[in-house]
């Protein structure tokens, strides 16, 4: 009896150690970037020579970085709004209505999530060549919408299935037309999924590098492509500062959004 308890204790200890190791493996690189962004040294590596914010200050004076940041934010915002609106409409059609070819359309909507980004990148680029369209920022937005739409459709569909149809039927029977019913009943109940998809799309767009490299107009950099091109020259400590800012945006935003969505869901019940 005692021996069993002991061996279980040992096994449990091993599981704990292993868990910690996994977390270290996952988060150590991120921690290194964050810590080194405050390093006073000229070189972007250990050892630390002191704590300073000089790389952040330098970043703020770097026009190329600021321009790239602005581009990324604008593209991500526009993509998030358009993509969420399209996704909600698409999910509504797929969940609430019956029409021929529904299964096919569902599959096609989800497909871009399964195709490698490089293929999508080249594909859209070739299409635009063939159509003799210039590479503009709108192409980038269009591409990002294509990349993120499957996730929005999935998120909204999942929530929509959970919203009972009787709420909409009750609203209709009380005299609200379909649009009023959507505005007053469906959309408010769908709000957590809408907020979630806005954030999700923003992050997908803000983060994207592979496809963006194909689609960005010449001379325009997004945040990730800017970092990549800076790395080609040298590993400046500025990149650590930039990386830390990226982490804050892409991790902080969904966290805030998640909290907001949970709050909305609770007050919506």
């Amino acid at each position: 009896m005692n021996a069993v308890a002991e061996s279980r204790g040992l096994g449990w200890r091993l599981v704990q150690v292993f868990t910690v190791l996994v977390y270290v493996f996952m988060f150590a690189p991120i921690m290194v970037v964050v810590i080194l962004s405050f390093n006073d040294s000229q070189f972007g590596g250990f050892p630390m020579t002191g704590i300073s914010f000089r790389w952040y200050a330098k970043l703020m004076e770097n026009d190329a970085v600021l321009r790239a940041f602005q581009t990324s934010i604008i593209v991500a915002l526009i993509t998030a709004v358009i993509c969420s609106a399209l996704g909600v409409l698409g999910a509504l059609a797929l969940v609430r209505y019956e029409f021929p070819g529904k299964e096919w359309i569902n599959t096609i909507l989800i497909a871009p999530a399964l195709v490698p980004e490089t293929v999508l990148g080249v594909g859209l680029l070739l299409l635009m060549r063939w159509a003799e369209q210039p590479r503009t920022l709108w192409l980038l937005v269009l591409g990002h919408i294509m990349l993120a739409l499957p996730y929005v459709v999935l998120v909204v569909q999942a929530r929509l299935i959970g919203i009972k149809r009787v709420y909409e039927e009750a609203a209709l029977s009380l005299g609200a037309n379909r649009i009023q019913t959507f505005r007053e009943i469906t959309l408010p109940l769908l709000m957590p999924a809408v907020v979630a998809s806005l954030l999700l799309v923003f992050t997908i767009s803000f983060d994207n590098i592979t496809a963006s490299m194909f689609w960005r107009p010449s001379g325009v950099e997004t945040m990730p492509t800017q970092i990549l091109s800076m790395l080609k020259v040298s590993i400046s400590p500025e990149i650590n500062a930039l990386g830390t800012l990226m982490i804050i945006v892409t991790v902080g935003l969904p966290l805030i959004g998640g909290g907001l969505a949970r709050y909305l869901a609770r007050s919506g019940r």
């Binding site: 009750a170 029977s173 005299g175 109940l189 919506g268 019940r269």
Partner: protein
């Protein structure tokens, strides 16, 4: 319209309503006329088409044939939000993100009622369902019974031409259900609103309705008062669906003095009151309610043997065998509870027997 004036038009009228999905026919050529202020129940097993009829009147499904009129106006081509119909669902369907006030005021808002008037009407509706002062609460803060009352208030406050209730009591527990049944009936009387109630619970139907429409397989089996459908079932289905009945196949051997002698298949002979259309030699089914089969120590009665006995307090449920046939008997306990295997005498009053013809229709 050159037809009857508004006052004499039925509150709700269905003419040859049919609804088919591909090859499945959910509602088959149903015609029904409901008077103003009447409480009519659509009763039947699940899948009999009762809910489909209700949803057709509401406008949630589109009939594939026939006409539906409400208050003299044809509505089957009118979109649901222009029909002026009150709908109460099994699971209340209160808007979870709106307060009780906003839930009840919802329909009034779309009828362009003034704000002060809305507040007055909501308050009156809450008084009517005996839940005053809950305006600010959310539906999730209320019990099931309360939520159903709010749903009722929300449907009635718009003064609909007809109130449609889709199994509104079946989500409540047994005690509450009986209480709500009485209350619902009182409110319906007070408001005088034409009501169509859908249920599979025969007790609810018998207790609440002015008239009952018994449905099976998309068709109306019988339409009548609760007493009509219970005491004088017109078809085999109605006889077996309402209450517990013995259905005994046999053949009429002789008719005399208004009584028919029926030789039951593989069993004894039984005497039944003979309707005018009964003929000697005809194959019939004798219908007799389980409560009307009494058993005792009688000697001149039909001899039988108790197969099983369940004690139910005031009554007991027995299965008895007599000459190869099995009978169900629900009897009040007078002397004592009969035990399994005991020999007893079975008595059936001829007046308590109905006869069905070969097609299952009642002989008259």
């Amino acid at each position: 319209m050159t037809g009857p004036s508004m006052t004499t038009a039925p509150a709700v009228e269905l003419r040859n309503v049919t609804l088919a999905y591909h090859t499945f026919v959910a509602v088959k050529d149903v015609s029904l006329s409901i008077r103003k202020g009447e409480f009519v129940t659509l009763l039947g097993p699940s899948g009999c088409g009762k809910t489909t009829i209700l949803r057709s009147i509401a406008g949630l499904v589109q009939p594939t044939g026939g006409e539906i009129s409400v208050a003299g106006r044809r509505i089957d081509n009118v979109p649901i939000h222009k029909r002026n119909i009150g709908l109460v669902f099994q699971n209340y369907a209160l808007f979870p993100h709106k307060s009780i006030f906003d839930n009840i005021a919802f329909g009034l808002k779309y009828r362009k009622v003034e704000k002060a008037e809305i507040a007055r009407k909501v308050k009156r509706a809450l008084d009517m369902v005996r839940l005053p002062g809950v305006e600010k609460k959310l539906p999730s803060e209320m019990s099931g019974g309360q939520q159903q009352r709010i749903a009722l208030a929300r449907a009635i406050v718009i003064e609909p031409d007809v109130l449609l209730l889709d199994e509104p009591l079946s989500a409540l527990d047994a005690n509450l259900r009986e209480e709500m049944r009485t209350e619902l009936k009182i409110i319906q009387r007070e408001v005088g609103i034409t009501t169509i109630f859908v249920t599979h619970d025969q007790e609810e139907a018998l207790a609440m309705s002015d008239r009952i429409v018994v449905m099976n397989k998309g068709e109306i089996e019988q339409l009548g008062t609760p007493e009509d459908v219970y005491r004088r079932p017109e078809t085999r289905f109605v006889a077996s669906f309402l209450g517990q009945s013995n259905l005994l196949p046999g053949r009429i051997t002789a008719i005399a003095d208004g009584q028919a002698r029926v030789q039951l298949d593989g069993g004894p002979e039984i005497i039944a009151a003979a309707p005018a259309s009964a003929r000697a030699g005809a194959a019939v089914t004798v219908v007799v309610r389980a409560q009307k089969v009494t058993i005792g120590a009688g000697s001149k009665a039909m001899p039988g043997k108790v197969i099983s006995a369940s004690y139910l307090g005031g009554t007991a449920a027995y299965f008895v065998e007599s000459g190869g046939i099995r009978l169900q008997s629900n009897a009040t306990i007078d002397e004592r509870v009969w035990r399994e295997g005991e020999a007893v005498g079975i008595t059936i009053n001829p007046a308590d027997c109905l006869l069905l013809d070969e097609k299952g229709d009642r002989l008259v």
